[in-house]
Amino acid sequence: MMKPHRRKRLGVILFVAFGLSVAVMLTLFALSQNINMFYTPTEVANGEVETGTMFRIGGMVKDGSVEQQQESLAVSFVTTDFVHDVPIEYEGILPDLFREGQGIVAEGRLDTLGVFQASRVLAKHDENYMSPEVRAALEQAGVNPDNHQFGATPED
């Protein structure tokens, strides 16, 4: 058997560790909306963000929505979570991974027309890694291997 004084010490440690864990977890969940990195297009459509405030929006670049200006770096596209869409305008260099069907996070403001004026666009990578051959084979088989991290799947 463990000696009583040791059992008591172990008990105190477990009690303190448990109490602190609960306290930290409760705090984190209370702050959840602030810890989230971005709002989804649905949250923006629901009016959770005040017009004019700086925030980040995360979604997929909608297929066929990217329009690149010929003479400048200006680009416009639509970001979607497959429930709501938000149009984005941006002028600057896009990350290498930026393309249609890609997850992105953009930082900027909503203008009065409901267009998100982005000052920064980041590409999000999903949790799927595959070789170009595998990806081509999946596409041929009619499977969309792209990430569905922003809500519903496009097929829905």
């Binding site: 010490r9 172990l10 989230n36 990195m37 896009l94 920064r120 590409a123 890694y129 070789s131 990806r135």
Partner: protein, 251 residues
């Protein structure tokens, strides 16, 4: 002392640890070298490029292995710390003391490799609003805190107990790091579900190299921790008969 706990106290004997590890070390170092060589060659030469990232994905073999391993330091130090607090076994504290700087290096490497990968893939080196990134940085600060706490408190026993407590509390952050990508939305991708099927997303052609590297990095951790702990034993036990004999032999 009752018989049932005797093995536990023998395990905590510095002399026993020193003698056992003298025999284990060559095997551990050999296995580490083997796994490291296979992992690095595989990652650099045989890993297929990713359809989006191209060759950048090779960094992830190292990043995932180092990141996963860096999460084991606080649990390790917490177990050692609990043994220190409850049973007052000296060896546990020697392990904990040497784990902290190692953990800081592993955490730093995780942040550095991740940053390099992110600068290419995401288009940014660092995002203060990403909870995975920030909680990992917090782990680095916590580990630096544990290291400075030990030097700040003069009494060795008090320092050991304070560090033990901080290590136990620090485990909460490990849970936060692990689940940050699931609980909140982040730029950092969630962990990948591995697939057993060759030719499918996250198939063996991608994760086997990482698995080999994870074993290699854990072996590296074990070897480094054993080596530094052995030094610690020689320093702290320099009055012991067996250490004196060992030093006399070496001369």
């Amino acid at each position: 002392m009752s018989g049932r706990w005797q093995w536990f106290h023998r395990l905590g004997s510095p002399k026993w640890f020193y003698e056992k590890t003298t025999r284990w070390l060559p095997w551990l170092v050999g296995a580490m070298a083997l796994f490291l060589a296979v992992g690095i060659v595989w990652a650099l030469l045989f890993l297929p490029p990713d359809y989006q990232q191209g060759h950048t994905s090779r960094i992830l073999v190292v990043h995932v292995a180092v990141a996963g391993t860096s999460l084991s330091f606080f649990p390790l130090m917490a177990v050692a710390g609990t043994v220190t607090l409850v049973w007052r076994i000296k060896l546990a504290d020697m392990v904990a003391k040497n784990a902290a700087p190692l953990g800081a290096w592993f955490t730093f490497l995780t942040l550095a490799t991740g940053s390099i990968w992110g600068s290419v893939s995401w288009g940014t080196w660092w995002e203060w609003t990403d909870s995975r990134l920030v909680s990992m940085l917090f782990q680095l600060f916590l580990l630096l805190g544990v290291i400075s706490l030990r030097t700040a408190i003069e009494n060795a026993e008090t320092a050991a107990r304070a560090c033990a407590l901080l290590s136990i509390v620090g485990c909460i952050n490990v849970v936060i790091i692990k689940y940050s990508v699931d609980w909140w939305n982040t730029l950092h991708q969630p962990s990948s579900p591995i697939s057993m099927e060759v030719g499918s997303p996250n198939g063996p052609e991608f994760w086997v190299a990482t698995a080999v590297m994870i074993v290699a990095v854990y072996l590296f951790l074990a070897v480094s921790l054993i080596l530094t702990t052995r030094n610690e034993i020689l320093q702290r036990e320099d009055k012991a008969q067996w250490v004196r004999e060992l030093v006399a032999q070496a001369r």
